[in-house]
């Protein structure tokens, strides 16, 4: 459970700084520090157990069907990263308190920072590889927000976008790799995957899985050739850079390599890819770091170079190399975080990061200078500092390569070359910034020491550099043991980190690097000139150009496809349907299936002819809208008869009542629309549309024919067999609606209610001119409502309501039910509206149809929820038979309450739509009538 808190605390901590921001910067910072502090405390609490080799687990089933569980593990590796993430996070929070100006929202930075922290902690503690990817993507997203924190700056936006594209693409690759691993192993559990290393390595899919996973790791850890997003991410505020590029974001890739080491490593493929990518990154980035005049640019490339070093070590595949990698992760995090913070202080106090301007700061800020110098020396690998120890181990490991041909001597030589550059750029950081004459054109002059507490995080980190460097065995050795034991899978041979191994080759390499670096730096002028002359790739321009091209391309495609003409979209839709339908029908050997045909009778033919005439007539007279509408209603009525003919009384009843409502509604709407459609389609369009329409019709006809002449399997037997025993009703259609597929029906009445409310909203403040005349200029009749119709309608109302009640009650056993009863009630009430007017109805029936529609949905949903009370799944129905006097045996089912909800929704929605639309005609009538009376 405490393990869950490691994730939950920072997540809850996201809200704290936002809430306390108004109380001042100090309180906001304290609030932000609470969660990381608690996490750090928790981790330290578990430290002894983990150091003894125990692993803590937490398990919560999340989506078991997908193999995705919320399971966490805390082992040595996770512990080490967790301590770095929360510890350095804490220091960054303190630092940011002083770094960020008053114009920026401190609370927002802290909030996103903690979100990011949560995601990182999730990565290092995930015990399910899919869960790890969830957190992995969360780091990509939250780092996007962090890098683009100064969102008003173009470079920040571009840098953030680049980081997100590269790491996001890598995340997709990793997902592919993880799915493959899960497929090979048969489980997404991290423990299972790590234990199945031999199975994975021998599987035919191993190379693919490995490549995908490595792509994920290399993009995240900025390995060549995916390194370029990292320097551009320097547009972030420096506290963010210090956090992302020392202990967290970029280390996620390295962590992944270390985490999956037991499952994937120690094959030739792993060695060749990981080692060579690491080597190229190490040397190339160290060289570029030397050439950068921007303080943070130098640190950025040095970060890439150090990540290459760790990758290279993990690639070597020996147990000691893995240990050295783990050690260097810690060391790099410590000295790089402090260097970024120092660079931030310098930037803060001088207003620039250009090392050609910043010189001789020793005089102005000696305290900061001292701290930065110690950290930089550690980065260079000067003895007595932590950087020296892991670099020594690194040199030692490069010398132990066997059986890889030329790589055996190339790797140590290139390592030394990179070491030379590392010394050169570290020395440049010290000499160029703090000595080398006087500052030139500083935006802020004279620079002075930063606020006292801004230096505290740097001091803590520098002290750690010294402590680890001088007493490694008293400080980090147990943690490294525990972490690397996890990496190499438990069997760590005895070793000791020591300051002094005697005069040997690694020491010689170290000294060669030191001397060479100093020499190289002294020749810097020539080097810079050489670099400037040389070929330089501006990745940002390249990337932006690609992005722009992509945007242009998609815009062109969108504009081409989507020109705002509905007719064209419908045309494309029909064409697409024709193509897809033809492609689907093509393979059929014969359109006609084996089933015998049913006989034709005269009445059916007559009905079909009327229907066809109605449909074609609708098209032919569609310029006269009222006539077309009337013909359309003929079609609708015949469709109802078709339902009767083929034994679907429920459908016939529904179709009949819906038809009435629809036609009334359309007539009402037609009142506000032009009565005539202009003849505006050019002949080519008419012929094209006729061709398309005929094609669609023939296609549908052929499909219908092909289906109807073939036998089929239906799941209906289940419904027919269980309708009475399971649903308590003999009308299977109704039982399906309210019982078997009740959840669908609930969804459908919800849609109905939403449509009605949508219509209500659309009719608000609708300002339609009330037409005075119809299409041919004839005045609308101004007669009062027809009295005979009104009287008849009033007499009919109770009868109609009685019928609808009857239809409703019998619906479970005979054709009928909530839908049909609701429609009949609606029709009866609409008749009153038609015959007596909206005002008359409102005086007598001031119901709020909106509430009514909602109430119906609520009743149906509550009926469904009710089954939970008795411990049954949602919408389980129960029924019983009671004997009523007069009526006879009568069945009571909970499905009936559900059906009542359907009934109320249908009535509410239908009347809401019609009454609202009818209301529109009202202001006009109310205005014109008094005028008439006056006249």
């Amino acid at each position: 459970m405490t393990l869950l808190l490691v994730i939950l605390l920072p997540l809850m901590g996201v809200a704290l700084p936002l809430l306390t921001e108004r109380l001042g910067r100090n309180r906001c910072a304290i609030a932000a520090a609470l969660a990381p502090l608690a996490v750090l405390g928790l981790l330290i609490h578990h430290l002894p157990a983990v150091l003894n080799g125990n692993i803590l687990y937490f398990h919560l089933s999340w989506l078991p069907a997908l193999g995705l569980d919320f399971s966490l593990r805390l082992d040595g590796l996770g512990m080490m990263f967790g301590l770095l993430i929360s510890g350095i996070g804490l220091l960054v929070i303190l630092y940011a308190r002083y770094y960020l100006s008053d114009d920026d929202s401190l609370g927002k930075l802290y909030a996103v920072l903690q979100l990011f922290m949560m995601a990182m902690l999730g990565i290092v503690t995930a015990d399910n590889i899919l869960l790890l990817i969830v957190f992995w993507e969360l780091t990509s997203l939250s780092s996007f927000l962090l890098i683009g924190f100064w969102s008003y700056r173009s470079d920040a936006r571009k840098g953030a976008r680049m980081a997100l594209s590269i790491t996001g693409a890598g995340g997709l690759c990793l997902l592919g790799g993880a799915l493959l691993l899960g497929h090979i192993v048969g489980s997404f559990n991290m423990g299972d995957i790590l234990a199945a290393g031999d199975v994975i390595r021998e599987h035919t899919l191993y190379p693919v899985a490995l490549l995908l996973v490595l792509l994920g790791a290399f993009t995240k850890s900025a390995q060549f050739p995916f390194h370029f997003w990292l320097p551009h991410a320097m547009a972030a505020p420096t506290p963010v850079s210090a956090y992302l590029h020392s202990a967290t974001m970029v280390k996620a890739g390295v962590f992944l390599l270390a985490r999956l080491y037991p499952a994937l490593a120690e094959t030739e493929m792993w060695f060749l890819i990981v080692t060579s990518v690491g080597l190229v990154t190490l040397v190339f980035a160290a060289y570029t770091a030397m050439m950068k005049h921007d303080l943070k640019g130098l640190l950025a490339y040095s970060t890439i170079s150090h990540l290459g070093l760790v990758t290279l070590l993990l690639g070597l595949g020996t147990k000691m190399a893995a240990t050295a990698a783990v050690f260097h992760v810690i060391n790099h995090a410590i000295f790089k975080a402090s260097l970024f913070m120092a660079a931030g202080i310098i930037d803060h106090e001088t207003g620039t990061r250009d090392m050609r301007k910043i010189n001789g700061l020793w005089k102005y800020m000696p305290h900061t200078a001292l701290l930065a110098m110690v950290a930089a020396a550690s980065m260079a690998g000067v003895p007595l500092l932590n950087g020296f120890l892991s670099k020594e181990m690194f040199f030692n490991e490069t010398l132990h390569l066997r059986s890889y041909g030329f790589l055996n001597w190339l790797v140590p030589i290139m390592a030394t070359v990179a070491g030379i550059f590392a010394v050169a750029y570290s020395w440049r950081f010290i000499h160029d910034v703090f000595f080398n004459g006087e500052p030139i054109d500083l935006p802020k002059y004279p620079p002075h020491e930063p606020p006292r507490y801004m230096k505290v995080p740097v001091e803590i980190l520098v002290v750690l550099c010294l402590l680890v460097g001088m007493m490694p065995n008293l400080t980090v050795a147990p943690l490294i043991n525990a972490a690397s034991a996890v990496v190499v899978g438990g069997e760590l041979k005895e070793y000791e980190i020591s300051l002094w191994h005697g005069f040997n080759l690694p020491l010689l390499m170290s000294f060669a690097a030191l001397a060479g670096g100093l020499l190289l730096y002294s020749q810097r002028k020539g080097l810079f000139a050489f670099y400037d002359r040389g070929f330089q790739l501006d990745e940002k321009m390249l990337f932006e150009a690609r992005v722009q091209r992509g945007v242009r391309g998609s815009r062109w495609l969108t504009d081409t496809l989507e020109n705002g003409a509905l007719q064209r979209y419908v045309m494309l839709l029909v064409v697409a349907a024709l193509v897809a339908g033809t492609a689907g029908l093509w393979p059929l050997a014969s359109l006609t299936g084996p089933l015998p045909l049913t006989p034709v009778d005269g009445v059916s033919v007559l009905a079909a002819v009327i229907l066809a005439v109605g449909a074609l007539g609708t098209v032919l007279v569609h310029h006269n809208r009222l006539a077309a509408l009337l013909l359309l209603s003929v079609v609708g009525l015949i469709v109802a008869l078709v339902f009767v003919r083929f034994s679907a009384p429920d459908l016939a009843l529904t179709q009949l009542s819906v038809e009435v409502v629809t036609i009334v509604l359309m007539m009402l709407a037609l009142y506000f629309l032009p009565q005539l459609t202009p003849n505006e389609s050019p002949p080519w369009r008419v012929s094209r549309d006729i061709a398309l329409a005929s094609g669609a019709g023939i296609g549908v006809g052929l499909i219908t024919w092909a289906v109807l002449t073939r036998p089929y399997n239906t799941i209906a037997d289940y419904f027919l067999a269980n309708s009475v025993s399971g649903g308590g009703g003999t009308n299977v259609v109704n039982v399906i609606l309210v019982d078997f597929r009740g959840f669908d029906t609930l969804g459908e009445i919800t849609v109905l209610a939403i449509a009605a409310v949508g219509i209500f909203a659309m009719l608000q403040n609708l300002n339609l001119p009330l037409p005075g005349a119809d299409g041919s200029g004839r005045q609308w009749a101004r007669d009062p409502y027809p009295p005979i119709l009104a009287v008849l309608a009033r007499i009919l109302l109770p009868l109609a309501l009685l019928v609808s009640a009857y239809i409703f009650l019998r619906g479970h056993n005979l054709p009928g039910g909530g839908f049909i009863a609701g429609l009949i009630t609606s029709v009866a009430l609409i008749l009153q509206y038609v015959s007596s007017g909206v005002v008359w109805m409102q005086q007598r029936m001031g119901w709020n149809y909106r509430s009514m529609a909602t109430l119906g949905v609520v009743i149906a949903a509550l009926t469904g929820l009710g089954s939970f009370v008795w411990g049954y799944p949602f919408l389980t129905s129960s029924f019983t038979h009671v004997h009523w006097p007069v009526v006879g045996d009568f069945e009571l089912a909970t499905a009936m309450i559900f059906d009542l909800g359907v009934y109320i929704t249908v009535v509410g929605a239908t009347l809401l739509i019609l009454a609202q639309l009818g209301m529109l005609t009202q202001p006009g009538r109310m205005q014109t009538r008094p005028v008439e009376e006056e006249a």
Binding site: G564, V574, L597, P599, V600, A608, T618, V619, H622, R625, L632, G636, V639, V642, R645, F646, S647, A648, T654, Q655, V658, L665, M666, A669, L673, P674, P678, S681, D689, I690, A693, S694, A696, G697, I698, V700, G701, T704, A716, L720, T730, N731, V732, V733, L737, D744, V751, L752, M762, L768, P771, G772, A773, L814, P815, F819, L823, I913, V931, A935
Partner: protein, 129 residues
């Protein structure tokens, strides 16, 4: 009978599609309605043509397939809601844009209809006053 049903559905589909390709909202809505008749019938006959007795237990020896019927029943009601929604959308578009072209930006028709409305209103005012 199968051929007859297929032909009927084909005719309704053709007419529906043709009307949906028109440039004014009202014919398009008529077309959608026709097409939804066709689609409802199409789904309904997927349960094959039976004319014995309804899907009520005890009414006969064999029953028609109740599943397409249940699907089509809700489809009819939802189809009504959709038609009503599109219809009101057309009204709103007419009110906001001053014309009933499906794209709402038909300049010729805007001019024409503005004149017509103006004309009609004037006439109406003239009579009522």
């Amino acid at each position: 009978m199968e051929a007859l049903v297929a032909a009927v559905i084909a005719v309704m589909t053709s007419c529906g599609v043709y009307l949906m390709l028109r440039a004014r909202t009202f014919p398009v809505i008529l077309g959608i309605t026709l097409l939804s008749y066709a689609v409802n019938l199409f789904i309904f006959v997927m349960g094959r043509l039976t004319s014995a007795n309804p899907a009520v237990i005890g009414s006969g020896a064999t029953y028609p397939d109740p599943l397409p019927q249940a699907l089509v029943l809700t489809a009819i009601v939802i189809g009504f809601a959709m038609t009503a929604f599109v219809l009101v959308l057309a009204l709103r578009a007419r009110a906001e844009l001053g014309n009933d072209h499906v794209d709402g930006n038909d300049q010729m028709s805007i001019n024409k209809y503005l004149n017509d409305d103006h004309h009609a209103n004037k006439k109406g005012e003239g009579r009522s006053l």
